[in-house]
Symmetry: C2
Subunit: 314 residues, 2 copies
């Protein structure tokens, strides 16, 4: 197994301007694992209740995801209910039931401990730290977090941040964590907290990758029919980590392309409820969108090859 | 003269979190002309009152701008007063005094009528149309507008839009003009109104260029010390048009690079009050930032030349 993803598996109820759906398969680990599964062997560590539909687990297995770390315990699965505003940029949480997720305390199996790539999805930073302690020298660790942990578990979060290679958070979280509004200032402050690199996700506006001496800024892939943005950030992280693990390098160029692949996975995810579209992709579709991505972002003719120029615009 | 810019010249009073300043040289024509002046011969058509400081006019002349169309009439110069919020993304207009600008009715001189490039800054669309009628077959016309005209002068605006090559507006204006929240839908609807192409400016997030069959999305150049965002959009338009007029082509690739140069001019403009920094640039600084821009946006190795790869990151 190349990547281990630790996070939540949830049953989401989502209300969008285009319709509503209950008990959609969701959660950070779900989206990240599905996105990563197109690139590499992926394992999931999460918890579900005894109400979890068997077809969801079966679906994850058909994606080639190792679900041996998906622990099923008595009780109900984590549930989240949310509603999106007209423009899909604002979201209101209507209900959160942690259920079995409240007592989640992941214990890794020996093969999981040996995974070279680890993605710590958005869970309590104490749990993230506990997972890190169980790993045997992972090659590359990325981590997500959210406003609740930045506010209420700052010390634990800082302890985790000291141990990771890459933090992947959104704009608002970066500003909150660094207590500054300028994204460049925020990035410097956050990298001083430990992570060697930082990705700031900006939703429909794209993402920025910060390194010790480098900045890479890339727009999002423009999507005409955004339907349900749930899980876009997790799909992004999964695609990014999947690509990295596939290539097996973490140099600046591989990371940049990984950010683009992350953006691509997010752009597929938002066009249908839950992980529906994300789950039915082919690698050919992903590669084809990568070439589209080049077409919409390319402006300098590195090769001085006019034929390539024209190709890119055809 | 290569470019004619029609718009406002104002004396702005600006309050930012970092300080306040009265009677700063501002207005859409000012920022656009200064930005364009680094690339090509630029002429300004605007109106000022008899209170307009002679040193401001002299400053415009030192930038090589043809101010023969800067009409001075009895009365006071257009004044705007605004205040920026803590994060510089929100702006409140505290006072607007149109003064001599209220009766602005530009009449172009014979040399101005022959300019191949025309930028219609944000003024009443009836005036924009009147200027268009006076031009002798310009090669390329770009136009800006704002919420007031979209709301109150829609018919006049649509008449102008039928006659232009490129509309340059911001995100919010695009959504307003097209009455839709998705930027891709908005772009299609707007291009159906007449403009062959559209640039949607997204402030610190970048810009998107839409063509009949193409999309080019580019992030903004990240700026650490944003001080006063006034005039960023006009600097963007001026840089874009200046680059186009300099090259003398309007193909997709030239337009894409023009958008990047527009972004660069905006990035310089925001670091000091008014047009202070914008006005003191050298072309070497602009070219150097263009190379920086490539470094921060490059992810695909078109040339397969590893040396160039490394160069771009050094």
């Amino acid at each position: 197994m190349r990547i281990l993803v630790v996070g939540s598996v949830a049953l989401d109820s989502v209300i969008t301007p285009f319709g509503a759906k209950d008990d959609v398969l969701g959660g950070s680990a779900t989206y990240s694992c599905i996105a990563a599964s197109y690139f590499t062997d992926t394992g999931m560590v999460a918890v579900i209740g005894d109400d979890f539909p068997e077809n969801h687990r079966e679906f994850l297995r058909t994606k080639g995801i190792d679900t041996s770390g998906l622990q099923q315990v008595p009780g109900k699965t984590f549930r989240w209910k949310g509603k999106y505003g007209e423009d899909l940029n604002s979201r209101t949480t209507l209900d959160t039931q942690l259920n079995v997720f409240a007592d989640f305390d992941p214990e890794l199996s020996p093969p999981h401990r040996q995974c070279p790539y680890l993605f710590l999805g958005n869970i309590d930073p104490d749990l993230q730290y506990s997972v890190l302690q169980q790993m045997e020298q992972p090659r590359f660790v990325a981590c997500d977090t959210m406003n609740i942990w930045i506010d209420n578990k700052r010390e634990s979060l800082l302890k985790t941040l000291h141990k990771i290679d890459l933090l992947i958070i959104n704009d608002e979280e970066a500003r909150m964590l660094a207590a500054t509004s300028n994204v460049l200032h925020a990035a410097k402050k956050i990298m001083a907290m430990g992570p060697k690199r930082l990705v700031v996700k900006r939703g429909e506006y794209g993402a920025i990758l910060f390194g010790p001496r480098t900045i890479f800024s890339v727009p999002a892939f423009p999507v005409e029919n955004v339907f349900d943005p749930t899980g876009a950030g997790d799909s992004f992280a999964g695609g990014l980590m999947g690509y990295l693990a596939n290539v097996g390098l973490e140099d600046e160029f591989t990371l940049r392309k990984a950010v683009v692949y992350g953006s691509i996975m997010a752009s597929f995810n938002v066009v249908d409820f839950g992980a529906k579209r994300l789950g039915e992709l082919t690698f050919t579709e992903i590669e084809s969108r990568y070439r589209e991505f080049i077409k919409i972002t390319f402006y300098e003719n590195f090769s001085k090859d006019n034929e390539m120029k024209l190709n890119l615009l055809s």
